[in-house]
């Protein structure tokens, strides 16, 4: 399931929902991304996140489908926030449950890495009264390519 939303989310509740995916589930891996004080700039006080409505959901569903073809995925959940976020706010959540831990870790990390380079979100860093559109990192492209 995929949600693009301005509201915050509750990782505990998301985890409990993933966990309740049947008695064959042995592993739940989750990732949460938070607004950090240093990105392209230091002294970041907030972010603004823009996305391409419609396309974003399709891309994310495609990533879950790809992960489900490569690994045992019992349930997968992606939440991404958009709009204005403050320091330490939650930005993104990816949770995967599987029979086995290797599959849960791999699918969760794959979805996060692929999201970074293929889902149409754009981040603007805010530092006091300056704004700066974040540049895509070569390291993110490398991580994403490593899954091919």
């Amino acid at each position: 399931m995929i949600s693009i939303q301005t509201e915050d989310f509750d990782v505990g509740a998301e985890y409990e929902a993933l966990r309740a995916s049947g008695s064959g589930t042995g592993a739940v891996a989750t990732f949460s991304g938070l607004v950090r004080d240093s990105g392209d700039l230091s002294g970041v006080t907030g972010l603004f996140l823009e996305h391409y409505p419609g396309m974003t959901e399709q891309v994310l569903q495609g990533l879950i489908d790809s992960a489900s073809q490569r690994w045992d995925v019992r349930k997968a959940r992606v939440i991404h926030r958009v709009g204005r976020l403050a320091l330490s706010d939650q930005i993104v959540f990816v949770g995967v449950c599987s029979a086995h831990r290797g599959d849960a870790f791999a699918a969760c990390e794959f979805i996060m890495d692929a999201l970074k380079t293929s889902a149409p979100f754009w981040k603007k860093e805010i530092t006091g009264d300056t704004e700066h559109w974040v540049e895509q990192k070569d390291s993110d492209l490398d991580r994403s390519k490593a899954w091919k």
Partner: protein
């Protein structure tokens, strides 16, 4: 928008620097994403960056596209900087 036109959308830094969220353009036969990009870049000023040093990504009907991807009447084409979510 009529069926003979196409919609072009811009996001993030491009949207801001072009001061344009979307355009409606007539289609020309044999048009591609790359051709459309050249046409828009030829407007000059901030539009020139569409063929500048910074990479521009494209989508047709909300799926990632290449310069060679054909563009048909009724399509939704989008141009945007490399994505930076997550």
């Amino acid at each position: 928008m009529t069926d003979q036109n196409l919609t072009v959308r811009f996001f993030a830094r491009l949207r801001e620097e072009l001061d344009t969220e979307s355009l409606e353009l007539p289609t020309t036969p044999g048009q591609t994403v790359g051709g459309l990009l050249s046409e828009l870049a030829a407007r000059g000023g901030p539009w020139a960056q569409l063929q500048g040093e910074q990479p521009v990504m494209a989508a047709v009907n909300q799926a990632m596209a290449k310069p060679s991807t054909p563009v048909m009447p009724g399509d939704e084409v989008a141009f945007f900087p490399p994505v930076t979510g997550g």
